[in-house]
Amino acid sequence: MRYRIEPRRATPASLFYLTPVLAVGVTVALGALLFGLLGYAPGATLYHFFVSPITTVNGLAELALKATPLVMIAVGLAAGFRAGVWNIGAEGQLTMGAIAGGVVALRLVDVDAPWVLPLMALAGILGGMAWGAVPAVLKTRFGVSEILVSLMLTYVAVLLLGLLVHGPLKDPTGYGFPQSAMFGASANLPLLVEGTRLNAGAIVGLLVVLAAWLVMARTIVGFQIRVVGEAPAAARYAGFSGNRVVWLTLMASAGLAGLAGVFEVAGPIGQLVPSVSPGYGFTAIIVAFLGRLHPVGIGFAGLLVALSYIGGENAQVAVNLPRAATGVFQGLLLFVLLASDFILRYRVRRVPPAGAPVSGALR
């Protein structure tokens, strides 16, 4: 009996949504194997990584807190990925958003008014967009790869933040620490659950998911983005502008990343520090793929990947697992996910050997 791999004509919808679940299972199994190889008890480590962090109210609040930036950024990135626009510099756009929002907060530190926070959010969105505009201009005008430009700008943004908190924005009463003064009360996001760090940013994150779903599924803009990505020739024939889609998706993803940056400094951090994100901009790429580039899927994927951050911290405390394990998990997850796509597009079929006798009588 021989087996042949052949392309599927159509992918069953069930398989499309089942594979991410399957991928998570395989990743956890691989992770357990890896922990075992490194000399940690796999069962206990997995428990501290994936279960115990979400057994308390505080743990659940932290989960939603960390999922918010991941989801907001991933929703924007996914629109670009669908159109074949690879913005991988969201980390830099997040940082620029944090800087822009932070500068507003520090200027208005004595102002007690409800418009401070919206103004910060606006500044953050514009800051992110400004950073995203560079790859957009260079891509549409000169055909420069947005991958390399957006990534290089991430290093520049992080260095700029370092420069600011070591210099012009350093808190003069901060004993020389490289950080800004604390923001004023009206520059902090209101808490949703007292006693936790979960703030109103999570609500905005949910609204972003809903809005993106509507835009992608129900509007002509969403349609254009999908057509440009899936059938570029058809898009040209229909007169959809590729450049416009590059701009749209880069502005959307960079603006959302900037907003996520503001929410970090106006939420759990409360000031500008040299590092405002543990790599949310990069991890959001994984979230986008895990969520199948669909806003609602991304919502769930964000919660799951957020768990890998909290789990990593928890396992570090509980069983002394190095923090880097989080990154390993995230990388593994994306690998397995990409590999699992194969079963969406191909199937294995049994074929009888060529020239095999049809019945025993011929033997």
Partner: protein
């Protein structure tokens, strides 16, 4: 400027350029075969940590260098299985490779942070190495520096003057035609991807065994991405990759010297931004200039291919 300072600058430029050149040459071959591997940064980090760990454990730097190359190739193999056999998206898989490489290298290297190691030994030829000025620049380098220069010639020769190179370029230009006339497209691409991994691993080993003989988490600091930019700058030609690597190496060293020269008014971060900004600038000049023609990427770069059964 005295000759001594000039020599010192030249020596540091070589050190800064060598890892870029090694990684860029590997990626250049991979891309010439039509495969875009964005995981250079991850493969370099795996090479760096493996080279350091093996050298520390065995006390033998040749073993460390070999292990580093193999570690890079091992990660490249994962990339190959995913993108060539399972036809996964090359951009996404390359990013996964980088994220995974950063994580795994940090996990492996957690115990090595701060441990010292002697740097790779440098060539010493009595008489020649002592020559003024050119002596140490030409005859006083370590093995990886010479290898990077040698490989530039080898890659150029193989790509342009041999049958293997011709087939590899054909696979990158038109996978369908190459397949139709009977060349094993997937196998050749596997070879090119593995070569890219070996070279990235060596580039990483250079960082952790020669550049700064230490293991530091994420010590590549974007060099893998700069190597990718150098390949574009080089228009997929090995000789120009050499020029590109030394140009970028030069910018890196320039900013270090400018910082050291006591320009206190300018914060150090501004200088540290220069290599990244220079990369963007060079990409723009390359893409926008009148010399654009003839600089086109291999036609099949990044496109999935699966032969009909």
């Amino acid at each position: 400027m005295s000759a001594d300072v000039l020599v010192a600058i030249l020596l540091t430029v070589i050190t800064a350029s060598t890892p870029l050149l090694l990684a860029a040459l590997g990626e250049l071959v991979t891309e010439r075969a039509g495969v875009l591997n964005l995981g250079v940064e991850g493969m370099m980090l795996m090479g760096a940590v493996t080279g350091f760990a093996v050298t520390l454990a065995t006390g033998s730097w040749p073993l460390g260098v070999i292990a580093a190359a193999l570690a890079g190739a091992a990660l490249a193999l994962v990339f190959g299985v995913l993108t060539l056999t399972l036809v996964a998206n090359q951009v996404a898989t390359g990013l996964a490779l980088t994220i995974f490489g950063i994580g795994v290298s940090a996990l492996i290297g957690a115990g090595f942070v701060g441990k010292p190691l002697p740097a790779l030994p440098k060539l010493s030829l009595p008489g020649l190495t002592d020559l003024p000025i050119v002596g140490r620049v030409l005859f006083g380098q370590d093995v990886l520096v010479y290898l990077s220069i040698l490989m530039t010639g080898v890659v150029a020769f193989v790509l342009n003057r041999t049958r293997l190179g011709l087939v590899l370029r054909a696979v990158g230009q038109s996978d369908v035609s190459a397949h139709a006339i009977g060349y094993p497209v997937i196998r050749i691409r596997y070879g090119a991807v593995l070569f890219g991994g070996l070279m990235s691993g060596l580039a990483g080993a250079y960082l952790s065994l020669a550049y700064t003989p230490l293991w530091v988490q994420e010590m590549t600091a974007g060099r893998g991405w700069i190597a990718l930019a150098i390949v574009v700058f080089a228009a997929w030609r090995p000789g120009r990759a050499l020029v590109g690597a030394y140009l970028f190496g030069g910018v890196t060293i320039l900013q270090l010297y400018a910082q050291g020269a006591g320009l206190v008014a300018v914060p150090s971060q501004v200088f540290a931004m220069l290599p990244y900004l220079a990369t963007i600038l060079v990409l723009v000049i390359i893409s926008a200039g009148p010399w654009r023609r003839g600089l086109d990427a291999p036609a099949c770069l990044g496109k999935p291919f699966r032969p009909a059964a």
